[in-house]
Amino acid sequence: MKTVNLMSKSTTFVYSRTALAGQVAQFLRNYYIYFVLIAIIAFLSAANLDRFDLFERGNFLYEKNIINILRVSAPILVLAGAFTLLMVSGYIDLSVGSTMGLSAVIYAMLAINGMPFWSAFAITALCGALLGAFNGLLVVRFKITPVIATLITLSLFKGIALLLVQDGVSAIKSMGDLRMPQWFNAYGREGVLMGLPMAFWVAVGVTIVLIVLQNRSLLGKYAAATGGNPTAAKLSGINTSKIVFILYAIVGVCAALAGIARASFMSLGDPLSGDGMELTAILVVLIGGTAFSGGEGKVLRSFIGALIIMTLTLGMLTLVPAYYQTLVIGAVLLGAAASNHFISKKGQTLSE
């Protein structure tokens, strides 16, 4: 009698401990990213305390510093959500940096030739959609592997952007009779609400739309199904080609918005302004916990991931020289990939 009791007791104990560990793992999986962001901000504020007072000029939590970080981050913030949806469906776009550069050039060219803000904005966004759709066409219709297809367009879009800028000049900017209009850098720089510029609020708006799209629409569900198991998705009647094509177009639009934000912030249309953006986007999405193999990931978490990366890269400048940046970002990427792996593995084995 006694032994049986003991055994059953110990079994329940083991069971509840497993359940608890599972809950902890689940909690960590859902919310660790917010703790990382808070930890980084706390660290950067503390590291600068000896030089400045908290909330005072120069320290990390100073209002102007926060505004500056958020408006510099606008391009990656607007891109992160769409990139997440694409990766959730198991595809990738390496051409976002070139799309961004080309859009920046187109936007600056339209503006410098006297087109008003909204029409230049709309036309550039439309161009972005077309560039994204071209990617989708290569992947869906010509059936080229996403990595190769978007490597091709990375080169192609960059070449077009460089050709649009005339020889001997590095970017579209005020020259001779052609002058950039007064409004040109208002979009990326001038605060409209809470001191933050239009570009940032557009990024927030796009993210909210994408969150609704992911959680409440068929597109979001089908994207996850396509990434989770392409064959099953196809067999259950989902037009995966159409989904992937739409997602590439959305990424194109968002990359164009990122290009507009960057061009407006820097007051010039630089064809190389998006270089390296594909790496940043992959990094941000991975930090947000999206599985590279597809099927899993959340738009909001990528948004937070983008904030983490931008806070870290800009905050680091107050502590170490700029040439440490590549090393730290690389280490963060490896660390994020490894921790993603361990957290999801732990959750899986315990819940099974």
């Binding site: 460089l162 730290v328 280490a331």
Partner: protein, 341 residues
Amino acid sequence: MSVSIKANKTLFANRRISDQMYITLLVASVATCLFLIASVLVPNFFQLQNMLNLVTNNWAVISLGVGVTFLLVSGNFDLSVGGIVALSGVLSVWFAQSIGGANALSTGLGLPYWLALLGALGGALAIGALNALFVVKFRIPSIIVTLGTMMVARGIAQVITQGSQRNTNLPDEFGVLGSLKVFGTSIQLPVVFMAALLMLAIFIERKMLFGRLTYWIGANPTAARLSGIDNAKHITYLYLFSSAIAGVVGILLSSEFQSGYSNRGMLMEFDALVIALLGGIAIAGGFGSVIGMFFGAIILAVVTSAATGLTLSPDWQFILKALAVFLAIMAQTWALTRRNQ
């Protein structure tokens, strides 16, 4: 390609060349055609010296392409090679610089030259080992891992050179390796290195068990593992092999320019990937060859140098590169489907 037809015509099936050889021949003939077209269009293109230059100017990318090809065949990416080129070059300079320079960038560790080279190679191998650890042990997709190690390798190089370059206070023998002319001809040691590496790679790929196993692992990793092959060990060796090549390339380049520059080898990983793809190597693994990669490099070299010869703006190179890759991929897919119908 149905089995029954093949069984009926055993005699012909034996004579029929493999898909592999078919694609390699296709790539080689495309390279030749492009060269002939360029010879018609571009003045002074059809010259022996120019043909040699097409190969010798690209020795670094072709050498890197060997390691990348083997890894692609096994179903893995290696995007870290460009970063390793920068790292090993900077390390070899830093180790060899003598102690007590005028400032931080001209002061090194003052090691003997041979030890500096060994150290630099060790640094390269360490990155390769890191790749293998993350890909094999943690099972993280290789494209992410090698993107990360690319940044880590280049990041270390940037920290050592403080974002610029180290080129002073070097021993006299430092510049010898990269500019040594062999056999009294104008052929330099790096080119000989590339040629020897190509020979070795083709031999391993065609004649040795190691090479054949690479194909098997790439074609079906699960089947390979179930039939008793140690996939993990094999892929570890491949990553070490690739990073060792990149390390040697970095050392030779830094010796040729007598400087350790942290941005050297920028985008070389993408060029190595592109020439491998042009050469018909399937990104899914299990298909492709080093010879194909070599002709892929020739295609790219002909396109870019013809563009320069036609005095097009350098901006055209990006568009031509994109067009070349697109056409090559489409042609290969089309040829294979048609053949196997």
